[in-house]
Structures are given as C-alpha cells and as structure tokens.
C-alpha cells in the first residue's frame, strides 16, 4: 500500500496504522466467525459512517470463506498423509539365500508436515497378510467415520 498512487498523499505512518487495524479487525472477525451485525456494531462503535460500514461488510462477505479456510489451516498437526503408492514384487533370490520365491508389497506413504511442507516419505514392506491387516484396519476406521456422520 505504500506504493499505491492513490494513497501517496497520506502520511505513511497513518497508512500503516490503518492497514494494521483493518487486518486485525478482519482476522478477529474471521476467528470468531462473527456475523454481519456483530461487525457493523463494532464498526459503529469506532465511529465509521454507514456507507463505509456497508462497503467493509460487503468486501468481508466476499472473502469470508477463503479467510476461514486460511485460518483453519494454521496450526500444528501430526504428519498428514496425502497419497499412497505401492509396488508388488516377487523375490527370487538374494546374495544370502537363493530360491526364496516370496511375494511382497512395498508401500510408500506421501506425507506433508504442517511446519515445513515436505517430509521424506514413509516406506515399508509387507506381506500379503500384513497388507490385508492394514486394509482391514483402515476400513474399520472408515466405517466408524460413516457411523459418526449418521449420528
């Protein structure tokens, strides 16, 4: 805003204060999920006239959803799984043991960290039975999710 040609006549300090105040107001409103009447009342107390309050509220309404999504994504959480890849292989021999003839799965979970954005993927191997166990448990979780949404 300091470079905006329309605002160059105003004292930069005042501009900064206005910007900070507006930003804080918007963030608080977003955080509390305040509705239009609450915002209007607050702005009336700050002695803004009706036209400005209406302008502010219209702009706020337009961007409310994006604001909520942004605020909701701030915060710490455990590593978040974003995707999974798998590979099926059939082992024939290794340097210690020949004729092993064993199928196995290599599963890689792509994970994202809330802090740094990327994290080395988690890979592990499993047999057919172990994969069945894993999928069974994931399906139990999904079923309980479904039941929770129906409550």
């Amino acid at each position: 805003i300091l470079d905006d040609p329309d605002l160059k006549d105003i004292d930069p300090t005042v501009l900064k204060h206005c910007h900070a105040a507006a930003a804080t107001c918007i963030l608080e409103a977003g955080k509390q999920k305040a509705d239009i009447s609450a915002i209007s009342t607050c702005l009336e107390d700050c002695k803004l006239d009706k036209e400005r309050i209406e302008q502010f509220c219209t702009e706020y309404q337009k961007n409310k959803d994006a604001l909520e999504i942004l605020l909701g994504s701030i915060g710490r959480s455990p590593l978040h799984i974003t995707d999974v890849s798998w590979r099926l292989e059939y082992q024939i021999k290794n340097n210690q043991l020949h004729k092993t003839y064993q199928p196995s799965y290599l599963v890689t979970l792509n994970v994202e960290s809330s802090d740094s954005g990327s994290h080395p993927d988690i890979s592990f191997s499993c047999t057919m039975e172990q994969l069945q166990d894993l999928v069974g448990k994931l399906k139990d979780a999904a079923k309980s999710l479904e039941r929770a949404t129906q409550m």
């Binding site: 509390q32 909701g72 978040h80 995707d83 059939y90 166990d133 999928v135 999904a142 999710l145």
Partner: protein, 199 residues
C-alpha cells in the same frame, strides 16, 4: 546343481574320515550351534579334549561343515546333487549318509537363519487408529474438522518404531481404494502365471 568345493575346503573336511561316526556327529552339532549362536572356541576346545584330536583340526572340521551346510542350503540343492557333490571327497558310504542326513535335517533352519541376513526395509507391524474431530484452534473457533489419527508400528531390523500420522476422510477412502487394488493384483492372471512358472 552341484556344489564346487575348493581345495582348502576339501582339506578342512579331510579330517572327517579318520574321525569316526561319533566325532562326525559331534562336529555336526558344533557346526549347527555355530550357525545359531556364532563361534564358540571353548566348545571346540572341550570337544578336542574329549575326542583327543587337535583343536585346530576340530576348528577346521567345524568350519568346513558350516560352509558345506550353508552353501547347500542357500542353493537348496537336492539330495542327489548333495550326494554327488560330496562324492568327490572320497568319503565312505556311511560318512556320506550321515552328512546327507545332517543336511536334510537342518536345511530348513539354516535357510531361515540365512533369510534374516537379507537387506530389509522397515516392515509393517501393526496400525492403531483413532477418530478425532477438531472443534477449535488458536486461529479459528467453531470448527468441525474430522480427521483420523493413526499410529503406524514398523520394525526396522528388529527395532520397533512408531509413527503418528493423520489423514482426512477423503484421503482415507483413497488410501483404502488404492491398497485394495494392490491386494487384487496378486490374484490377477499375470501374477499367478509368474508364480507358477518360477518354482
């Protein structure tokens, strides 16, 4: 498939014919113990004293047997091939028979011991899960954000590790779909044909 024994190996096993049946049995037992637990010099000394043979001879004999057994088990050679391989050593029939028996009796165990030496990725152990709903955070009040929190237990070279992970319902369903597809692959004709033909 025949086993090729080097000259040094043959020399080590050369002590067996003079030794006699009981000694061969004792050496076989020592060889298996060495495979299970590693070298035991004191056990070899005790055997040397008991059988009145030099410690070095006993040591070499045990090492020779260990190598013979591990190579045969690694390649999974048949009884006939094993017989033909040791034939070159020129042992008596009785000695040959005891060696074959030693091989057949312990082959499975030796293969499972060798199997543990192979390079391994962390392997799956188990999964615990929990359904969470986030209701509020420092930046946003009044939320309803469902998530599934999981603890993935893995084994890395016998060390258990646990990793706490989280996912949202949509990703969970995607994971289930992908992994079910993976499981289905094993039952496809392509995989079945390969497994059948590779034995």
């Amino acid at each position: 498939m025949l086993l090729v024994l080097s000259a040094e190996h043959r020399a080590h096993l050369g002590c067996l014919p003079q030794a006699g049946g009981a000694v061969v049995g004792e050496l076989g037992r020592l060889a298996m113990e060495q495979l299970r637990r590693g070298t035991a010099p004191r056990a070899c000394e005790a055997a040397a004293r008991k059988l009145s043979i030099g410690v070095d001879t006993i040591q070499h004999g045990v090492e020779g047997l260990v190598y013979l057994l591990t190579e045969s088990s690694k390649l999974m050679i048949s009884e006939v091939d094993f017989q033909d391989s040791i034939h070159v050593l020129g042992f008596s029939d009785e000695l040959n028979k005891s060696l074959i028996q030693l091989y057949l009796d312990n082959r499975k165990e030796i293969r499972s011991i060798l199997g543990e030496l192979a390079p391994r990725l962390p392997s799956y152990h188990s999964l615990e899960w929990r359904l969470d709903v986030q209701l509020a955070s420092r930046s946003l009040r009044q939320q309803i954000k469902p998530a599934v929190t999981m603890k993935l237990h893995l084994n890395q070279n016998e060390d258990p590790t646990a990793q706490v992970l989280q996912t949202d319902p949509a990703t969970l369903l995607h994971l289930i779909q992908q992994l079910e597809q993976a499981m289905g692959e094993m039952k496809m004709n392509h995989c079945r044909r390969i497994v059948r033909n590779m034995k």
